[in-house]
């Protein structure tokens, strides 16, 4: 039974709205959504067990709604469910968090920005904004002046709210206790040496043992999605490098692909090669930084500098060609901004040779060390079901046996022409997450080596009109960023700026796994697990 039939069997009113990039968008009514979602999640011939992303939308007159991007980990089929409610005063949608645990945090995001309450979600607090925030910023009728700058402290509630719908249509609110009076709650962050940015983890401890972790986000929320609604398409590109700054190339690549796909713009082959090489260099860069930071989080300051020493070389290579070290601004709609620097190929080849020489040092000083081993092995175990349910892609998912690499599953750029292995481990502990990334460095080197001598001659950029307008519709694109699947969902109404631009954060599902991974571990493990899960906060907060 194909996907549509499965849905229609459970939800007779469902129908295809449109199609994007071969993915059907199927509309279901809120009443039928639970049945349709259940049928998809438990579909016998390839369950749609991975909720790739959940995007809240404001369609104005048509009401508020949600897009569920679903994927089957077995077959790779993808579908988008669309549901909406016309009630703007009290928008209610059924929660799907029991089917896909990752929805728990993503529904909070939709609630935070659009005010849609999800009945049955056990945690309906705001996610990014302050609990006393007025209004819902991503609504089109949001009043930007409604909130004055407040300088007083935000008191976080120790309880969460769950809403359920009574048969008579009224709402019922239960409170769940997050932290009790006898919990020893330690604030880790927002200013803390090893939260990798301004993340705050409220942690309930029992001695050294962690009972519960509650991540509090939004300390560097910049409203990039809202800002993008007023920007032209080239301007929105400037924001992507500032999401996950260690995946700057990949993020920008995703948005460029999305816009190019919508414009049906052909990208020159040379540009595709360059983009692929840059993506892989960026991945090595990110993984070297990952190594450094994990070692530092565990108290080994010397390996930290090893990672930075080699990363510096990549940054120099980047700077030579793109002019930027962290914020490169290299991909543009239709290709890349400038041709490769004449030294680029040689320097990259030299760098790979050098990296292969020093990598054994990395392993000798850290990986092999009995202290690192005992601190990482068996700690923070996540099972395959857990990572899929929580949507933890990237190295974290692959360490738990879930082959989720977008480069393999839905190849883009020139990834279908290169030979590389998808590194997958089955242990699911911190050590596996660490080793997956270390092995990916080697695979990225392989990819670069295969491509670097084959870069075709030709232009690096297809000329575009000065003002870019996209046709109406919903467009998506996803790439494998340094720490997981990064996606773009763009709705266009034919203007020169997007009607809605949503980024699938790689880090949000990762930070959501912290509670599952850390329970029962020690305080020191929390830091090591956080380091091995490897999130970057600007990408979570957006």
């Amino acid at each position: 039974m194909n996907l549509l039939d499965t849905i229609i069997k459970a939800a007779p009113e469902a129908h295809i709205v449109t199609e994007t990039d071969g993915i059907q968008i199927v509309a279901v009514t809120p009443e039928e959504l639970p049945a349709a979602a259940q049928a998809l999640a438990q579909r016998p011939e390839g369950a749609m067990d991975f909720l790739y992303d959940l995007t809240g939308m404001d369609w104005g007159e048509e009401g508020l709604g949600v897009l569920y991007q679903l994927e089957s980990t077995a077959t790779g089929e993808r579908i988008i469910l669309r549901t909406q409610t016309t009630d703007r005063e009290r928008p209610l949608l059924p929660s799907v968090s029991t089917l896909w645990p990752t929805a728990e945090i993503k529904e909070r995001e939709a609630f935070d920005f659009l005010g849609i309450r999800f009945t049955g979600n056990p945690d309906m607090r705001r996610l990014y904004l302050r609990e006393d925030w007025k209004g819902y910023p991503l609504r089109k009728d949001y009043d930007a002046t409604a909130n004055e700058l407040t300088l007083d402290n935000e008191i976080n509630a120790d309880t969460t709210e769950e809403y359920t719908l009574r048969p008579d249509g009224t709402l019922e609110c239960h409170e769940h206790q997050l932290f009790g009076n006898d919990d020893f709650v330690v604030n880790i962050g927002p200013q803390h040496p090893s939260t990798h940015g301004v993340l705050r983890l409220r942690t309930a401890l029992d001695g050294e043992v962690i009972r519960h972790v509650d991540p509090i986000l939004g300390y560097i929320h910049r409203g990039i999605e809202k800002m993008a609604e007023r920007m032209t398409y080239p301007q929105t590109l400037a924001m992507t490098d500032r999401l996950d700054y260690l995946s700057a190339h990949q993020n920008r690549h995703a948005l460029c692909r999305c816009i190019e796909g919508a414009m049906e713009l052909e990208v020159p082959e040379r540009a595709e090669y360059i983009r692929t090489i840059m993506d892989e260099l960026q991945r090595i860069d990110s993984h070297l930084l990952f190594y450094s930071c994990l070692a530092m989080d565990m108290g080994a300051l010397t390996p930290f500098f090893y990672g930075f020493r080699e990363r510096e070389m990549i940054l120099n290579i980047f700077e030579e060609t793109t002019g930027g070290r962290l914020i490169q601004n290299y991909n543009v709609i239709g290709g890349v901004r400038a041709d490769l620097h004449p030294d680029f190929c040689n320097k990259t080849k030299e760098f790979i040779v050098h990296l292969r020489q020093v990598l054994p040092d990395y392993h000798n000083i850290f990986t092999g060390s009995i202290i690192a081993k005992t601190r990482l092995e068996g700690v923070g175990r996540l099972s395959r079901e857990q990572v899929i349910g929580l949507g933890a892609t990237g190295g974290t998912g692959r360490a738990s046996g879930w082959a989720n690499d977008v480069r393999k599953r839905h190849p883009y750029a020139v990834y279908d022409q290169v030979d590389f292995e998808e590194v997958v481990r089955t242990e699911g502990d911190s050590m596996a997450r660490y080793l997956v990334r270390m092995d990916e460095i080697e695979q990225s080197c392989r990819i670069i080596e295969q491509l670097i001598d084959r870069i075709p001659e030709g232009p690096v950029r297809t000329k575009t009109k000065p003002i870019i307008k996209l046709p109406e519709g919903i467009f998506t694109a996803s790439v494998e960023a340094s720490r997981g699947a990064f996606g773009v969902l763009l709705e266009s109404r034919g203007d020169k700026s997007p009607y809605r631009l949503h980024f699938r954060s790689t880090g949000l599902p990762l930070v959501h796994t912290m509670d599952t991974a850390c329970r029962g571990a020690k305080l020191a493990d929390l830091i090591a697990i956080g380091g091995s899960i490897d999130f970057v906060i600007p990408d979570i907060d957006r």
Binding site: A338, N364, S369
Partner: protein
């Protein structure tokens, strides 16, 4: 610790791994440091790539006059409102009216270095210079007017 044998093997592998680690750190101890001393290296090892984006500057023609025609495309393309152009309308000797640049306000503090302004410019009148030493003590000093020579810096690092 299931057996004595495992206990002693634990000792042996543990000590061996620690010794390997110490060997590696000693190897690096004997290598030369990789960090450089800035600003002493300014004229020796410091290398600023040509494409490095330090700060925006106005390109001048052979008479030392800015090439900018005050068309405002850069201002329109800036995502962050970094550029404000002030222009006068003057009459040319042929009797045509045209805009003349009066002031080119550039807020270095809010520049994203996205290069959209440079791309948009039809006359190649602006470019990013390699001048990276942009730190100042007051925020106001980041609000530059590129028509003034002291703000339109171009340091040659080569």
């Amino acid at each position: 610790m299931a057996t004595f044998k495992e206990y002693f093997r634990g000792w042996a592998t543990g000590l061996k791994s620690l010794a390997t680690g110490m060997g590696t750190s000693m190897k690096v101890f004997r290598q030369k440091p990789v960090t450089e001393e800035y600003p002493e290296n300014r004229h020796t090892t410091l290398h600023i790539p040509e494409r490095h984006r330090g700060r925006l500057r106005l390109v001048t023609d052979e008479n030392g006059q800015p090439r900018c025609i005050a068309c405002g495309l850069c201002q329109m393309n800036c995502p962050n409102g970094t550029i404000q152009i002030e222009a006068d309308t003057v009459e040319t000797p042929e009797g045509r009216k045209r805009k003349q640049l009066k002031a080119y306000h550039y807020d270095l503090g809010s520049c994203l270095y996205c290069q959209l302004c440079v791309e948009a410019c039809p006359h190649g009148a602006i470019e990013f210079s390699n001048d990276f030493e942009n730190a100042v003590f007051e925020r106001d000093r980041l609000r530059l007017d590129l028509t003034k020579p002291e703000d339109n810096r171009c340091h040659d690092w080569k």
